[in-house]
Subunit: 160 residues, 2 copies
């Protein structure tokens, strides 16, 4: 049964909570940080009648252009029925395009259109700007600490 955080000996004198208080704070802070990162994109999405599912599609297709519908489905871990509607809506709005693969005419390769790429960049950019600002203001050292802690946490979730 590990173990609360060790009592700090040479302490930082900013109001860094200790022990139990630090752990209580951590979860709260993470919530608000998460909300901050999500808020911007959600607002933009909403004006187009899109949801977080559409965002996820755009995100993965942006990072793996030409991925098939089946691959996307497996990646997002949803049924094809659940994927179908948002996929069609993105097509209707000309944000993505489906084209038959030439190596196998059954599979549809998904790619972002120009405006789809623009939207994705806008959404991603909104988030990255927040991170960039936070990292810049906090300093390189803090950035590294942030990453170290996050990777420790992520370990438990089989990050791949």
């Amino acid at each position: 049964m590990p173990t609360r955080t060790s009592a700090a000996k040479s302490m930082p004198r900013s109001a860094v909570p200790k022990g139990q208080a630090a752990l209580n704070e951590a979860w709260r802070v993470m919530h608000f940080a998460l909300r901050a990162v999500i808020a911007g994109p959600d607002r933009i999405l909403a004006t187009r009648g899109l949801t977080r599912m559409h965002h996820r599609i755009l995100f993965f297709v942006a990072h793996t252009p030409g991925m098939s519908v089946g691959e996307l489905q497996a990646t997002l871990d949803v049924t094809k029925q659940a994927l179908n509607a948002p996929l069609r809506q993105l097509q209707t709005q000309s944000l993505i395009e489906l084209a038959k693969a030439d190596h196998d005419a059954r599979v549809r390769e998904i790619r972002l259109t120009e405006s789809g790429a623009a939207l994705e960049a806008q959404l991603t950019g909104e988030q990255q700007r927040l991170f960039a600002d936070a990292f810049a203001k906090a300093g390189a050292q803090a950035h590294e600490g942030w990453r170290t802690v996050m990777l420790e946490l992520a370990k438990h979730a089989g990050m791949k």
Copy 2:
């Protein structure tokens, strides 16, 4: 900025991404970290047929014993109808108790039962253990960096 930068602990670390790559990684890592923190409680909740909503109720009632139904509703930002079902289920499982307030017999004050408090502690403890481990393994300095960055992010979400 509270830059606690004694360079002592900081060493040539494993591939710390730079620039754009760092920002791409940040969001991914945060996702996995979040999943890790949520996974444990969700598993425990599921065995009792409870959901995240029940968890939220337990959490807030634990931190503000005797809060009214209306206060809880406002805190969680849901309708009373949405609150009603999980509230009754928690009562049925003897995890919470509702009692008339003596200053005003219309309001019901919500409190955790002993087993409710135990469950809440178990859920919270599961999460805190993860944070504690991560902070311990990453070191005090990383902890502070983590917190600095998170607070920077959270600023944008009006953390209160």
